[in-house]
Subunit: 406 residues, 2 copies
């Protein structure tokens, strides 16, 4: 069984039985393959009689996105498993427990979170998650601070970095987020109705400069161990619980990329609200909830990160140099906003879209949502180096919203 | 012989004989250990009759600096050897040839450069090196460009980075350059006469902010493979030839750190000129030669780096985004100036000094040289983010010089 091959459901059940403390000996187990088959097999193995279950996630040796397929290293399963374990240590309760990682099979066995929903789906269903900002800000502050030079022994950090060199997955980001949307690339995909927007992106030199600066940070700034793909499809949620999954893009990069991913996906849902079949008042109220969540995530993150720095900082000079913390936090906010903008733009004109907007049935409404998402995204990119507060960000989103809906 | 142990001269000779194409069989070889014994054994093995020679450099498992001793990884011999080989490919003729690297013995066998002098000594003897700026700018442009994301496949670069994770040697820099000079650290060492200057450094909050920002870049910006210790003691020179040696501090860091090291050491010699027993006119003429060399190094580097970028750049967006190259080169100049300042300051008040200034016999003259070096260094650090041209740098040095000598 140990040579790599895609597992059958029967094999998955046999492996699941070997995990101690989950299933009773002789339990009647049921398997359901619930992956989308694009990157991984995902087996949900359960003992319905006892109400117990477990997830087996096996990496496939290729990636498929919107019909394209290319080979992909199985080593990403190791990176994902090691990142999950580390995140679980740094942010207990905010990622699934890992029971086992099998290198040969590129297989991670972990806690079943079927009682949660994927947050993107939850937001599309207009769910409210009053603890989300609290949870995700803790996840971000803990994982980013304690893997950075501010909170981790600086020599150990260097050694750990080499275990998270992740060229293939980083290349997906470098191409699909930081390059293709800004040129007439074959991978781009957009509604013909917004071709004018796409062409404007290809010819906006001032925007290209900002994207090039953000791309440079993604390529060269080894600030902290990132999740690397922290959109709302990588978050399992209930009103009481938040679990971050799928860190296969993990690598040492700029912190703002993770924070920006969360913000971008909240704002993509914000841009989709016109597609919601409710009264204007109800829509506005949910939009306000989303913007308040953006604000809460950023403000809670900053407060928690600074508290960790003040209490557990390991860098003498970074802790004592007057004005350095303020300078650092402002640059981090600016990075966050710039990366958020890049993540929004690529979801409208690039290869991989989001269901929040693509599922809007009415073509005209969908088009307005796309234009709004692009307007917000471009504003965040274009002005990222000028933002000095969270409130300015909220104002910028509201201004873009008013302009598109006028 | 293959288990690690410090070699005897007899063993060194036997190993040297095994290198093909250097010595005749049966040649009568002579060994001279020419290392300073602080970090490495360095055997000069020669056949005086044939006029042939070779260098064996063996890492010792400890470092000694000014009486202090601490354990140090032998892996630095691998890093040094691999960096030398790579630098030789990227900048042919500007580093010694490597004949052999023996991992078990932490031993590198390389070209003998005894016909060259150490550049620091050459400058202390007021030598002129009319090709130095041409050579070192080529070395810097070639090694930095082709190991950066601008000139190297970005996925291969990531893989190569893990071979140059260098925590122990980086820690020496992080402590001795980017921390200790700015606090009352035990490792600091300075003439009692300039205690006022040292204490001012410990209490200069504005300077600490700039040093903290530069320290952050050293810790997190994986721009290119650096030499990592490119002072004039790491350069062998003649009027016709320049050879960069000793890249055991090599790691992926900010480019400006290497360029700044060259500039700092030229300026440290500049600060030492008052100790030269010549007429004021001769001193001024040599000072002008040093400043012209600083200017030439920076201007030639910029021209060569940009030419490589224009002709051999591998990053689409970095090549096409309007204003990005100008933005990049300006930040690189600012980093260079900031790092140069840090390298000057630490050579006056930190653990390791430079002979250019320490060897000045007259205490009053030496003190003025130290104050001048600190004045220049602090100016470069304090204003590093404001510099926009090489001429501004030269002006700042001349202004500091005039102020101290007034």
């Amino acid at each position: 069984m140990s040579t790599y091959h895609p597992l059958s459901e029967a094999e998955a059940i046999e492996i699941a039985r070997t995990i101690e403390g989950v299933f009773e000996p002789g339990a009647k187990l049921v398997s359901r393959e619930i992956g989308d088959g694009n990157l991984n097999l995902v087996f949900h193995i359960s003992d319905p009689a006892a109400g117990r279950s477990i997830i087996l996630k096996q990496a496939l040796p290729y990636a498929k996105v919107v019909g394209e397929s290319w080979p992909l290293t199985l080593d990403r399963a190791r990176i994902e498993s090691e990142a999950l374990i580390l995140e679980g240590q740094l942010a207990p309760g905010l990622v699934p427990n890992v029971y086992l990682y099998d290198k040969d099979l590129a297989l991670t066995i972990m806690e079943d979170l079927s009682d949660h929903v994927i947050m993107r789906q939850g937001l599309m269903n207009s769910g409210r998650y009053p603890l989300f900002a609290e949870h995700i800000s803790t996840f971000l502050a803990q994982t980013l601070f304690f893997t950075s030079d501010l909170g981790h022994n600086q020599q150990e950090k260097k050694l750990r970095t080499s275990g998270f060199i992740n060229p293939e997955l980083c290349k997906i980001t470098e191409d699909l987020i930081f390059d293709h949307p800004y040129t007439d690339a074959d991978t781009n995909s957009f509604d013909p109705a917004i071709r004018d927007e796409a062409e404007a992106l290809w010819n906006d030199g001032a925007l290209h400069l900002e994207v090039a600066l953000l791309r440079e940070k993604f390529l060269t700034h080894s600030q902290a161990l990132l999740h690397g793909d922290l959109h709302t499809g990588s978050i399992f949620i209930t009103p009481e619980s938040t679990k971050v999954i799928d860190p296969e893009f993990a690598y040492y990069g700029p912190m703002g990329f993770d924070i920006g991913a969360v913000i971008a996906n909240l704002l993509l849902n914000f841009a989709s609200r016109e597609g919601w079949d409710k009264t204007a008042a109800e829509r506005e109220e949910y939009e306000a909830y989303l913007l308040q969540t953006v604000k809460d995530v950023l403000e809670k993150f900053e407060a928690k990160f600074l508290a960790l720095w003040n209490e557990q900082g390991v860098d003498r000079l970074a802790g004592s140099a007057p004005g350095y913390k303020e300078n650092y936090m402002q640059r981090l906010l600016q990075d966050t906003i710039g990366f958020a903008g890049c993540k929004m733009v690529r979801r409208i004109v690039g290869l991989a879209h989001v269901a929040d907007i693509d599922k809007i049935q009415d073509a005209a409404v969908r088009e307005r949502a796309q234009r709004l998402a692009l307007r917000i995204g471009k504003t965040l990119i274009a002005s990222n180096r000028s933002f000095t507060s969270v409130n300015q960000l909220i104002d910028a989103v509201q201004t873009a919203n008013a302009a598109v809906k006028a």
